[in-house]
Structure formats: structure tokens, C-alpha cells
């Protein structure tokens, strides 16, 4: 071995030194970066980091009014679950309700009051202050009121209930002649009108699916989006397998299979608009052969004369044998229940058809009995008079007044008519004629985009409120909505905004409440008055706390009312007019069947990424829109899945890809509503197409509601192809026995006795 000279030594020392330093720095760099621990300066009561607190409140994602429990950790909402004590949903919750968290934490929420600076619809919005925003609105309102022109003010909101609705009405009283319109695309106008005509009660009854053994649904997608889907699903499950020895049978009549159609034992396609005839045909069978023994039998026989099975078969396309069988089963499997709604109510004969469905229930003796139709008591609070929901006709009137310059101030809250009204209504143009539009929305949706001022309200998880669900559950129920997290942004609760406007209008003495919470408490004193707690047990405060804790308040009531008598003139008036369609069948060979998207409903869920990423239950498509075609039709037109076609009505056209759907009538095409937003945040905008834009301005004559299923369209292939983004691959089982079925023998098993109320353990 040689010797190491000085230069070598220095080299080695240098190498070693540099290496050691590099190693040291490397190790230092891998160590954890600085993180902070920030405790509360003064922790809230019973607060414990890492231990969840659950707050009960009310879901506002759809009008069903389910009770929810929100899990919060360190002041942040983590999970929404159903409130087990709430009779509507009993601890369960649908996908949309659970996605409420993404309303709260939506990245596209408006963070404070805004003022438009540029041209309407295009101009940028700049931040302003609340005082400024409310003062300006109140100033203009005051001006009009002083001139006696407060009839030129219009408030347009989504459907509201409870004390918020009462507060709105109080505010309206300050503005004589001002219009309050509640508009929801999916409001069941025809159902309410049919109940009004048949039962003399224009409210929604309780449909007792749980105890029914035979359910015949005409177009009502009770498991999808109709009225109270979670409660219906509970009833469906229990009717199916919740009783020993009796399994409920479900039959669905509709032109395109919905979620309820898929769940049903039998799906019967009937020509669009003829469901009412089918109901009459079955009713006639009940009277003629089913042994209806009521005193008014002759009146019924006369009214239903002519609706023989064969005649109805010709009208509806449902075989006469099927009609007879349905009638036999409906009369023979008690308790039975007929539901009507959805597309059946969305025709020009919608009210007639739903009256016919009511008649079925009446004739089978299902009214006022468990397992049938039960009437709800009036709500315990909120406006006494049921606020009229604006029909399509009312909205047209509003648009017409606006165009004529008779509307000077429009306050829009949570409803998005620019999106949910057909293009034929010309609503966006009408808005342009209104000089001053204020929006209270939390999001920059299409309507808010046209506003001059935006006063963004809290989301429902940040605000006080209350609700009595509609339809109820057969007895009086109410629930208080409380904020579960501190407000994220510089927004205000809707109640507080209204109170602020009232105060700025100088109506302070009529509105003595400091805030919405105060107003609610005052209102709930009245509810408390129904069954007060002794003062030594805590009095109202104890009651208030207990309602907040439970998330629900209710009064046991008798559900059974017995069958009311139906007046002779009602019986005489039973009959269904032939449906009208917009467009000739030569030019437009298909009937367009638009349906509420399961996840997005009327489009309100489109800004929630979870909802966009929830596969459509029937087609498994994610994001985007499509048009559903019967396989035979598709083959005839030479279309395959993914071929883009223009769906054209007399009022517009939209390009969407084809989805070949095995369960739709050959001359019907269906499209989901919900996509096609121009604004409404990053997840919703510029995605899919909105079939509402195609609809003809055809209304149901009684209610003035839009006959949304009565538009004819044609399909024009564009030659383009896209790949539908969907979850499903091959849609057949290929005999692999993945979903197995069993025959009649195993109707119920031990599981039948296990109808369960969920047990919640995680305590606060």
C-alpha cells in the first residue's frame, strides 16, 4: 500500500467534511415542519377537541323537510345524518340531503354583499357592505311605498314554510299590494288541485306505504323525487320485508321507468297523458266487477260508464287483461293504495287524471285508513293561510307585468326561474325590464347573475329557522333549524335580512325581534302554549332546549279519520279530458318526458360535486345530460349510445348524446332535468343541457301549472359522437347469478320481524 500524501489527505478530509455536512442537512430537512396548535381562547361549553358534537336541525335540500343531525368537530361540520327522532326520515337520509355539507363548504359560495358595476348580466360585481345594501333596497321600497306604488314590488322565493314564511307575509303587509310569489319547478300544483276538488282539502295527505299491501302508482316517482322520498323509501322497505307473512306489491304506471318503476314488481308503460284513463278503467272495474258496495255506487257507475277495459286498453296501450288483473289485485289486496303525480300530473289533463287516482282510492276504501291515504292536520305554526305557490301562469303574469314596466323592484330568493322556466316564457328578457333586482341567493346562479344587488344569505346549516314537513306524517310535527357552525362568510340569515329590511322601512314596532332566533322563540311560545311545561320544570326555556336537542317536536294525533263522503257533483265531474300535446306528431314524432334528476333535482344540486359524481341510478351516467331512447327506436333511427342528436321542439333545440334505455316507450324520449347551467359555480356551469328550455308553454287549465310532459320533439342526428361518462359496463348478468331472485314461496323471512329504528351511539 502506498502512503497518503498531503494533497490526498486534504482531499479526503474535504470529501468527508462535505459528506457529513450533507448528511446532517439531509436529516434535518426530513424532520417535521412547524405546525401550530391553536386552542380556543375561551372554549365553548362542553367542548372537547377530537370529540364530535351532534346538532339537530332541518334539511332544506328539498321540500320534504327531513330532520338531520350534523356531526361537528372543532366547529366544522363533518357529516350529515338523518335525525333518528324525526318521524319523516327516522334517521335515514337521501344522497342529496347528505350533500348539504357541500352547500355549506362550496367553493363557489358568495362571501359577502355584492353590487353590480357593469352592464346587467355581464358586469362585474364588487363587494359592498350590508348596511349599504339593505339601506338602498329599503330606500327604494320606501320611495315606492310613499308614492303608493308598492304594488310594483315583487318578492320571488322558493317555497318557504314555518316562521320564515310568516315573516315574509308580515313584511308583505308593510308593502300594500306587493306580490309574494313562491316558485318551485317541481311544486305539485295538480295534485293539490285534485285533492281540493275530490276531498275538498287542498293539502298533501299522508300516503301510508308502510302498511299498504298493494301500491299502484301513476307516474309518481315516490322513491326518486316525489314529495318525501326518504319517508316513502322507509315505507317501501317495511312494506316489502318489514312484516311477517305479508309482502307489499308495487305496480308502477309510467311511460319511462323511474327509480320507483325499477323497484316495483311490475312496470306498466302507458301512453303519455293517458294514465288517467287507466285509473278510470280500473275504477270502472272496481265498481262494475270489484264489488264496490257504497251508497253512491250508481253515481259512480254512471260517471265511469264507457271506461270499459277494452276502451281504456285502446286509449292507453295497456292490454285489457292487465287492466282487469290490476283492478282485481287492487280491490283484493287490502290495504291498497293508489298514488298519482309526477308526469301524470304534468299533462294538460293532470288534475283530471289525479282526481281519477283519488277516485280509485276512494272506491277501494283506502281513504282515511292505515295503509291508505291519511289526512294531515294543519301545521302547528307558520302562516295560517296556505301560501299560494306561483304556477307557470302566475310567472307569465309577472313576466308580462315586468315587460310593461309595472314591476320596479324584484327580490329573488333561492329560486332560479331563469333556469327552471322554459325559454318560451321569456323570463330572462322580462327581468331586463325590471329596474332593480335584488337577489338573496348564496350562489351566483343564472337569476342572481342578472341582479343589481346580491345580499347573500346563510346556508341552512348556518341559520335559524323552523319547518313543519309537507306532506306530514299524519300527525302534527314541527322542527327547529339551528345553526350548526358559525357563519363562514359575511352573509346573513334570510330571516335577519327580512328583519333588517323591515327595520329600515321604519316598521320597527311591528318587528320587535332582535333577530330570527328571537322571532322564532316568540313564535314557538305559541306552540309551547299547546302543552306547557310547569314553570318549576323549566318552563319555556326548558321546552325550547328540549326541542333543540331532539330536533323535532310533535303531537300524537289520530291518524284514522274514516272515509269522507264524496259529493255527487264531484262524482259527476270525474272524467279525463284527452291530453293535448304541443307540436304535431308528424313533425315532432316523440313525446318529451323530462324528469327530475335523482341527484340534482331541478338543478339545485348541480353545484355539488358529490351530486355530480353520483351515478344516475337508472343509467349510471356521471356529469352531463343525455336523451333516453327505446332500443327499437334507436335501431330504427340508426343511433347508438353516445351519438349526439339535436332534440328539437317548436321552441328550441339542444344537443345531447343518446342513451339507449330499455324501459321507455318507443315513441317517448326522456331527458333528466338538472344540468345545462350557464352559471352556478364551477361544478355546474357549462355541463349538459337543460330540457326545460325546450318545453312548450302549455298549461294545465285548472291550476295554470306548466304541462311539462306535453311537448313533442324530434331528433336530428348531428353525426358527432361522444363517449358517455358512466359507471356501468355490460348491463346484463349473462347468467352469472349476481342479483338472484326467488319465487313466491319465500315471501318473507325472519328478517321481516326486524324492522329497525337505527340506534345512534356516538354521543356528544
Amino acid at each position: 500500500m502506498g502512503t497518503i500524501d498531503r494533497r490526498d489527505f486534504l482531499k479526503l478530509v474535504g470529501a468527508g467534511g462535505v459528506g457529513a455536512a450533507a448528511g446532517f442537512v439531509l436529516a434535518e430537512a426530513i424532520k417535521h415542519p412547524v405546525e401550530h396548535l391553536i386552542p380556543y381562547p375561551v372554549p365553548p361549553e362542553e367542548f372537547s377537541p377530537g370529540v364530535a358534537a351532534w346538532y339537530n336541525t332541518v334539511c332544506s335540500m328539498c321540500p320534504a323537510g327531513c330532520g338531520i343531525s350534523v356531526r361537528t368537530l372543532e366547529g366544522r361540520a363533518k357529516k350529515i345524518e338523518g335525525n333518528p327522532s324525526h318521524p319523516v326520515n327516522q334517521g335515514r337520509l337521501c344522497a342529496l340531503g347528505q350533500a348539504g355539507l357541500q352547500v355549506l363548504y362550496n367553493p363557489d359560495r358568495l362571501t359577502g354583499p355584492l353590487m353590480r358595476t357593469g352592464a346587467r348580466g355581464a358586469g362585474p360585481f364588487v363587494q359592498t357592505t350590508w348596511d349599504d345594501g339593505i339601506a338602498e333596497l329599503a330606500g327604494r321600497l320606501n320611495e315606492l311605498r310613499a308614492d303608493g306604488r308598492s304594488d310594483r314590488v315583487s318578492f320571488l322565493t322558493a317555497g318557504v314554510r314555518g316562521h320564515l314564511a310568516a315573516l315574509l307575509e308580515l313584511l308583505m303587509a308593510e308593502l300594500p299590494g306587493a306580490r309574494l310569489l313562491q316558485y318551485d319547478f317541481d311544486h305539485p300544483h295538480t295534485l293539490l288541485a285534485a285533492n281540493e276538488r275530490f276531498f275538498g282539502a287542498g293539502s298533501l295527505p299522508y300516503y301510508d306505504l308502510e302498511n299498504a299491501r298493494y301500491v299502484l302508482s301513476f307516474g309518481a316517482d315516490y322513491l326518486g323525487g316525489w314529495l318525501s322520498p326518504v319517508h316513502h323509501a322507509l315505507g317501501f322497505g317495511r312494506s316489502r320485508q318489514g312484516r311477517s307473512g305479508a309482502r307489499g306489491r308495487f305496480v308502477q304506471v309510467e311511460p319511462r321507468m323511474s327509480l320507483s318503476g325499477a323497484a316495483a314488481d311490475e312496470w306498466i308503460p302507458a301512453r303519455p297523458g293517458t294514465e288517467g284513463f287507466l285509473a278510470l278503467g280500473i275504477a270502472r272495474q272496481l265498481v262494475a266487477e270489484g264489488g264496490y258496495e257504497g251508497a253512491d255506487r250508481d253515481a259512480w257507475a254512471a260517471a265511469l260508464d264507457g271506461h270499459t277495459a277494452d276502451a281504456v286498453a285502446a286509449q292507453t296501450g295497456v292490454p285489457a287483461a292487465t287492466i282487469r288483473r290490476l283492478a282485481g289485485d287492487f280491490a283484493g289486496t287490502r290495504p291498497s293504495l293508489a298514488l298519482g303525480g309526477g308526469a301524470t300530473g304534468g299533462h294538460t289533463n293532470g288534475v283530471d287524471a289525479l282526481v281519477a287516482v283519488n277516485a280509485l282510492n276512494y272506491l277501494a276504501g283506502n281513504v282515511g285508513r292505515p295503509g291508505g291515504v291519511l289526512f294531515n292536520p294543519p301545521p302547528a305554526f307558520g302562516p295560517r293561510a296556505r301560501a299560494a305557490h306561483a304556477s307557470y301562469r302566475d310567472m307569465l303574469a309577472l313576466a308580462e307585468d315586468a315587460r310593461r314596466g309595472r314591476i320596479e323592484i324584484l327580490v329573488v330568493s333561492d329560486t332560479n326561474p331563469v333556469f327552471t322556466l322554459p325559454a318560451a316564457a321569456g323570463f330572462a328578457e322580462a327581468l331586463a325590464a325590471i329596474p332593480y333586482i335584488v337577489s338573496l341567493s348564496s350562489f351566483m346562479d343564472e337569476t342572481t347573475g342578472l341582479a343589481d344587488r346580491v345580499l347573500p344569505s346563510h346556508t341552512y346549516l348556518e341559520s335559524w329557522g323552523d319547518d313543519s314537513p309537507e306532506p306530514g306524517v299524519g300527525f302534527t310535527v314541527g322542527a327547529i333549524a339551528q345553526p350548526v357552525v358559525a357563519p363562514l362568510y359575511d352573509t346573513r340569515s334570510k330571516g335577519d335580512i327580512l328583519l333588517g329590511i323591515a327595520r329600515a322601512l321604519g316598521a320597527g314596532e311591528d318587528f320587535p325581534w332582535a333577530n330570527m332566533e328571537d322571532y322564532l322563540k316568540a313564535g314557538w311560545r305559541e306552540v309551547y302554549g299547546r302543552a306547557p311545561i310547569p314553570a318549576e320544570a323549566g318552563g319555556f326555556e326548558a321546552f325550547w332546549i328540549s326541542v333543540l336537542r331532539a330536533g323535532v317536536w310533535g303531537e300524537n294525533g289520530r291518524r284514522e279519520s274514516g272515509s269522507p263522503a264524496v259529493e255527487a257533483r264531484v262524482i259527476d265531474a270525474v272524467g279525463v279530458a284527452p291530453p293535448e300535446f304541443a307540436g304535431s306528431s308528424d313533425e315532432f314524432p316523440f313525446v318529451l318526458h323530462p324528469y327530475l334528476s335523482h341527484a340534482l333535482r331541478d338543478g339545485r344540486g348541480a353545484n355539488l360535486p358529490w351530486m355530480q359524481e353520483l351515478p344516475d341510478p337508472m343509467t349510471s351516467v356521471w356529469y352531463g345530460s343525455w336523451v333516453e331512447l327505446n332500443p327499437a327506436t334507436a335501431e330504427r333511427l340508426g343511433l347508438r349510445e353516445g351519438d349526439v342528436v339535436d332534440v328539437e321542439s317548436a321552441h328550441g333545440k339542444i344537443g345531447v348524446p343518446v342513451y339507449v334505455f330499455p324501459a321507455i316507450m318507443p315513441d317517448v324520449v326522456a331527458m333528466p332535468i338538472g344540468q345545462g347551467h350557464a352559471g352556478y359555480g364551477r361544478y355546474a356551469s357549462r355541463r349538459g343541457a337543460n330540457p326545460i328550455q325546450l318545453l312548450a308553454p302549455l298549461t294545465e287549465p285548472v291550476t295554470g301549472g306548466l304541462a311539462s310532459s306535453a311537448t313533442r320533439v324530434r331528433l336530428v342526428p348531428t353525426g358527432r359522437r361522444v363517449s358517455l361518462v358512466k359507471q356501468g359496463g355490460e348491463s346484463r348478468q349473462l347468467g352469472r347469478g349476481i342479483v338472484r331472485t326467488t319465487g313466491a314461496a319465500a315471501v318473507t323471512g325472519p328478517g321481516a320481524r326486524l324492522a329497525s329504528i337505527p340506534i345512534k351511539v356516538e354521543s356528544t
Binding site: Q102, Q241, E613, P615, M618, R736, I738
Partner: protein
């Protein structure tokens, strides 16, 4: 433990026939297909509970969904006599899970509760477990997922957020099981009561189609559901012995 001991222990466990029956719990889910409506409340419940990322349209178009529970749909018949059958598909927590044998680093294994565990930070991303899984319920993080602020405020601190290159799947909500055991211990109980704990999907199911519990307890609801003659397991013939038991849908001919 030297690796020889480790090797021997694992081999014995693998070859011992009744190995899984000696476990503390045998968590089981029953799914009544006659009740299931296909509403997908379970999907969102799972997504909210388990920090499942929003993957975006582009990734979905490539077929890279992440939802741990999905509804499969199968059409039967032709128009007009056409039926659509739904079946919720989630990790079956097989007692003889093919995925467990193949993972080279034991990132997935069977734990003493009869659960098919997945340890995210041990996973090196060979994806072989997904190939071996006949139920296609293992989901791979093909890229880093982002939550647009403030959507990340919703993330559940009891569940970790998975890195790119990691396989993930249904855990039967292990964080809830853990918490239920914690509560049981606080109460001085040795075991978790039936129904005390429910995974998010079971909790949310509006039709009460899903039931969860310990099948070793003969009084538990799942044990009773499993006694139903309608009970079957999907792809039974593969001998994976799943812990998810389905109850047959009752056919249309049933009166």
C-alpha cells in the same frame, strides 16, 4: 418476531381451516335486495364519511371512480317486460380473500375482527389485490386528489386522506368500529352491542336494506337475517367466503 416466526405464523393461519371462526367479532353486512331501491344514499354517505375524493369528470371518463360502495345495475328482459335489478357492491370482507394472499407487503390482511384491512401507508401500489379481487371493489389513487377550498373543511379527521399510488377500499367504517369499542370499554363492557355501531352506508339507507352486526352473536340482527332462506353470497362458487350476505330479491311472480 423474526421473519421465520412471522412466516410460520402466517402460513399456519393461512392453512388452518377454521382460522377465521376464532375471531373476536365476525362483522357482517346483510343487504336485502328486495328492499334496495337503488337510491344511492349509501354512496354519498360513504363518500362523506371516508374522505373519498372528488375525482372529476376527466378521471371518471377514464373509468377511475373511487366510490367504495357502488350500485350495479342489471337489466333483464326486453321492452315491455323489462326489469332493472340493483345490487350494492362493496368490499365483501372475504374470509378467504384473494387480495390478502397476493399483496407482497401485507398492506392488506385479515384482522381479528374478521375484517379485510387495508393499511394505506404500507401500500406500494402493485394493484395486484385489485386484479385478484373478483368483486372489483378496490380503488386505486391514480393521481393526487384535491379538495377545492373550503371543501376540505368537511374531511373526517378519523380517516386519513390517501396519497397517490395507494389502493383503498371499504373498511366497514373501521373508525366507527374503533369508536364503538372505545365506548364499550368506557362502559366496562367487553363487547360492542348489536346495532351500537353502523357503517355510514347502513346508517343512511332509507329503505333499511342494509343491516350490520356480528354474525357470531346468534341474537344479532345480521345472524337472523342470514338465517333467511333468501340469503346468498355473490360469486359463492369462488369460495371467497364473503362477509357481505345478500338476500334475494323476490320475483314478480310472488303474490
Amino acid at each position: 418476531m423474526s421473519f421465520l416466526d412471522d412466516f410460520r405464523a402466517r402460513w399456519r393461519a393461512y392453512r388452518h381451516p377454521g382460522h377465521y371462526e376464532r375471531f373476536d367479532y365476525a362483522w357482517t353486512m346483510t343487504i336485502d335486495l328486495d328492499r334496495c331501491t337503488g337510491c344511492e344514499a349509501c354512496v354519498t354517505a360513504c363518500q362523506a364519511e371516508n374522505n373519498i375524493p372528488i375525482v372529476g369528470e376527466e378521471a371518471l371518463a377514464k373509468g377511475r371512480e373511487m366510490q367504495w360502495i357502488r350500485i350495479e345495475r342489471y337489466w333483464e328482459g326486453e321492452y315491455p317486460d323489462v326489469k332493472l335489478r340493483f345490487i350494492p357492491m362493496l368490499c365483501q370482507h372475504c374470509d378467504a380473500a384473494p387480495c390478502e394472499t397476493v399483496c407482497p407487503v401485507t398492506a392488506t390482511y385479515h384482522n381479528q375482527d374478521g375484517l379485510n384491512a387495508q393499511i394505506y401507508n404500507r401500500c406500494i401500489g402493485t394493484r395486484s389485490c385489485s386484479v385478484y379481487c373478483p368483486y372489483e371493489v378496490r380503488y386505486f389513487n391514480y393521481n393526487v386528489h384535491h379538495w377545492d377550498k373550503p371543501l376540505d373543511e368537511q374531511l373526517n379527521p378519523d380517516v386519513t386522506v390517501r396519497e397517490k399510488g395507494v389502493m383503498e377500499k371499504c373498511t366497514f367504517c373501521i373508525q366507527r368500529i374503533r369508536q364503538a369499542k372505545d365506548h364499550a370499554k368506557d362502559d366496562g363492557r367487553r363487547r360492542v352491542r348489536d346495532g351500537e355501531m353502523q357503517p355510514a352506508c347502513v346508517q343512511s339507507c332509507p329503505a333499511e336494506a342494509l343491516v350490520f352486526g356480528d354474525r357470531q352473536d346468534p341474537q344479532s340482527r345480521v345472524a337472523k337475517m342470514m338465517a333467511d332462506p333468501r340469503a346468498y353470497r355473490v360469486l359463492e362458487e369462488l369460495n371467497t367466503s364473503p362477509s357481505v350476505v345478500y338476500l334475494k330479491k323476490v320475483g314478480a311472480d310472488a303474490g
